[in-house]
Symmetry: C2
Amino acid sequence: MPTAFVFDAYGTLFDLHSVQQRCEGFWPGKSLQLSQLWRAKQLEYTWQRSLMRRYAPFSRVTRQALQYACEALGLALDESRSQALMEQYSRLALFPDVREALARLKGHKLAILTNGSPDMIDPLVAHSGLSFDAVLSVDPLKAYKPAPEVYQFAVDRLGVAPEQVSFVSSNCWDALGAKSFGFEVNWISRGGAPLDRLGLRPDRILKGLFEL
Amino acid sequence: MPTAFVFDAYGTLFDLHSVQQRCEGFWPGKSLQLSQLWRAKQLEYTWQRSLMRRYAPFSRVTRQALQYACEALGLALDESRSQALMEQYSRLALFPDVREALARLKGHKLAILTNGSPDMIDPLVAHSGLSFDAVLSVDPLKAYKPAPEVYQFAVDRLGVAPEQVSFVSSNCWDALGAKSFGFEVNWISRGGAPLDRLGLRPDRILKGLFEL
């Protein structure tokens, strides 16, 4: 049995849907395409910046990805819309099964390990009312997932061995990065996307946190 | 004046369009969506594997990305189709302005610096009939662009200083990785895509190699 459960935040505990809804208000009919491109660029920039050794906090990366996506789609973006969307990131809803899943895991160490910089993740966790043993941002490391030092950071801060950690993420590449590091991993595949071909498999593929 | 011109291969010198045409033959009506997803996953996997320190050669990454993309789109892929598409990668056409642009740069050192593994890039360059002072694959480094050691490798192998190199890529993030390392960079923006927001700008944005 694992000693600690470590959760990814965006898309795993917190639903990004309300950001898309806000986009729909600003750019009717464009929000699906915009939010997909925004998310794709946000992740690309984390990987590219990590490899270039030009880390910038996730809040800046997220704003820059939004600028790119709006320009690519020909959508007008001003500072007030950008600000409104970033604020939405601090008020994301939990997926419906989160509270009960966390309650059932009581007695274990529970942590978040996220790309989100403290200026984004701290207000979000406070808004949710959830409590964790640790809310860990990659920010002090100046590197993003799936670099192994990110998963090592969780081990160091929680005071457990890698094999005592059960990691939970809806991002397949994040789950496989954690697997590569040495965690037991649960890939939460809510939408039934294909498994990423990175030469590794998650220990469990679950339809939601309720299956944990 | 630069001493050496270093070129990216796929999408910069070599046009991937014939791979898409082959896809169209296998899966009519699906080739645009497939080739876009295939290319996106191919790049994602290079970044993720580099960060995970689980390098695999570009030929394997490219096949694995194809498997993912076909599964995601519900397209049947067998070994013979996969093989046929990989062979197409060794017979890509040059963009129409490549031969003349290279001829005009005679007298400079000319090199390719590519993610492509030798099993992919060597037959492709041979097929093109072009000659270079060096055809450099990231393969011995076990890391992909835009890691700085990749651009350093070109400097070491060409025996020039970073500031003597003019780098040419149609991939904006690659151009900016080279800029971050210290090269003068030319971003070839044939399609007029937005500039990537990575905190850097290319020295020149060109519509094709003919503007070099």
